[in-house]
Subunit: 360 residues, 2 copies
């Protein structure tokens, strides 16, 4: 990466390079049965035996996912909820009710965020900002999605048994929570599940962020959200390279959230037009989380929970073990609602990128 | 205000005191016809001749409110959109579509926020944090609501002509936008509409924030949101006094967002139980914006736009003119959706407080 880049905090059009890194001292992932049966199944902290998680409604089930993910992440870090200054949280449901009814028992000051399926990236961005700015020592970032609550919110009642085109993605049932800290040594030693960082020290840190803008190519097919979001992913990625003076080879992995197979193709094509080839290091959480051939998920997984649980269960572990030294984690969001869709609006996209590094 | 309080950035449980203030260099307000006919009518920058604002749907109309409010606020400050690092924006609609389709043309990196009707306070909190932390020089904060889109989203189609109980509030049609800056002298001199600060200098600044947590008293009446939100307002206010070591008399006005007459009574009673009397300096934007006797708005105005336009058009002007030296601005939000309501959930509340001061 170019050494010419100014080391100031705000740089370029949309990027922040942190003068002092923010440490990811623990994380947790909870998923539904289908995700548990997928290729990453063995990596998740908890897998539900059914997708109701002991609740009466899908929305309550999604709330319980957020609650349990936060609980586990705090436990792993040995951090008490009273040590957490703020919680940055969101989900896909109207008025973010999975969050409102999921995390209230923690009584942690809440800053609710919404960026559709990019919300995990947004919550990490704002969480890291609040710590790096000196406004907090520890924060929690949590996001979730649930297949059944999302189908109800955006598409058809499950009872319809509607057919899905091959470009459609399958909303992940899951929640991922992250504890960020200003100090690397924030993890309780001797804690039975001592966070992601063994030996009481975090082994992953956030070095900076690139905040995405809304990108609208005019696509209107909510059954092909990968194609709707890919232009935003390309835009944020090119902006990131420009702002940071970096190039694809500076990252061991460039990870999008839920473009799926169709969106991935669009992204790689758009980037080639701009002179970037990331095909040898691009990874999409939506493609990783399901086995499309055997799980009938078509283009891949999606949702606020998809990138969050994949980051917690898979990506962070690779970073912490040093297999990947630097990763660009960039969840993507499709900014639609059933109202905007029914009124004939397009499906704009947005993507937020976070630079995550291994600490030796 | 006690001088014992630590001057660090993060203080107490949930509060931030800014070491370097953040300046509100301009703001703008756009409202619908009913708001224009209310007591504050003469103060708004723009009043629509009807509530469609030249659009085909209410949602589009709300989007156009955000777009125009941002345009006006930037114009007043003489700030180009390319000088703005981030926009913190939100609204009440599912998946924040008023924002998604309102501000995309500016191509400013977006951080979407959701705090129901407290969103204006949340956007100012995060915007001020991003500047004070050194991550941006200028940001825009914008929120909106629209009576017709909100009724459709939360209650009944307007065509039903349903009766509203006297405890109900009337969602304000309006949007308020604010340009925050790290520099007081950011306003273009000689600009025909030279922002809120005449002579090219801002006359209002943000000194700190208290982030609210979810407070749920178990109330379930979405037609009495004032009562649902008042406990959260009381909680944030008491937390603020404790964190800052301050008391009611340190503020010329303590302003809530949209408690209305019923919620105001609950707030004052709850605070008295905690030993605080703010009755001589409490003001509620929802009570100010309509004349309940002649406008048939019952308990008052509400919505993300209510506190935003009242802050821009009325409160900030009083602060800038020095009539009020220090104000605690605390919008309140009711965290419900039609799904959570229909599933029998309660209506939890949240409130975020921002300390705004006059600069001589």
């Amino acid at each position: 990466m170019s050494q010419e880049v100014q080391q100031g905090q705000h740089m370029g059009r949309a990027s922040i390079r942190l003068e002092k890194p923010v440490y990811i001292i623990s994380s947790a992932s909870i998923v539904g049965t289908k995700e548990g049966e997928g290729p990453l199944g063995l990596l998740f902290d908890m897998i539900g035996s059914d997708d109701m998680f002991g609740c009466n409604t899908w929305e309550e089930a999604e709330s319980s996912l957020q609650k349990d993910a936060v609980y586990l992440a705090l436990e792993k870090a040995g951090v008490d909820k009273n040590q957490v200054s703020y919680i940055f949280a969101g989900d896909l449901l109207g008025q973010s009710i999975a969050t409102s009814f999921g995390i209230s028992t923690y009584e942690i000051p809440l800053l609710g965020v919404y960026g559709a399926c990019s919300t995990c990236g947004e919550s990490l961005t704002l969480g890291a900002m609040s710590i790096a700015g000196g406004f907090a020592e520890k924060v929690v970032c949590v996001t979730s999605s649930h297949f059944a609550s999302a189908e109800k919110e955006f598409r058809f009642p499950l009872e319809y048994g509607n057919q899905r085109p091959l470009s459609a993605t399958w909303t992940v049932t899951g929640s991922g929570a992250f504890v960020l800290s200003s100090e690397r040594d924030g993890i309780a030693e001797g804690c039975p599940a001592s966070g992601n960082g063994a030996y009481g020290r975090a082994r992953a840190r956030i070095m900076g962020m690139t905040v995405g803008k809304i990108v609208d190519f005019g696509l209107k097919d909510s059954m092909n959200m990968g194609a709707c979001m890919a232009p935003a992913a390309a835009d944020t990625l090119v902006q990131h390279f420009m702002d940071w003076g970096s190039q694809p080879s500076d990252y061991d992995k460039i990870v999008t959230g839920d473009l799926g197979t169709v969106g991935q193709r669009v992204l790689l094509d758009l980037l080639k037009e701009k002179g970037y080839d990331v095909s040898d290091r691009h990874m999409d959480c939506g493609i990783e989380i399901f086995d499309a051939d055997t799980q009938d998920t078509h283009a891949g997984g999606s949702g606020c929970g998809c990138s969050a649980v994949t980051l917690s269960a898979y990506i962070l572990k690779q970073v912490e073990e040093g297999n990947w030294k630097r990763v660009l984690f960039m969840p993507t969001g499709a900014l639609l609602s059933k109202t905007s869709f029914n009124e004939g609006q397009s499906v704009p996209g947005i993507a937020h990128a976070v630079v995550i590094e291994h600490i030796a």
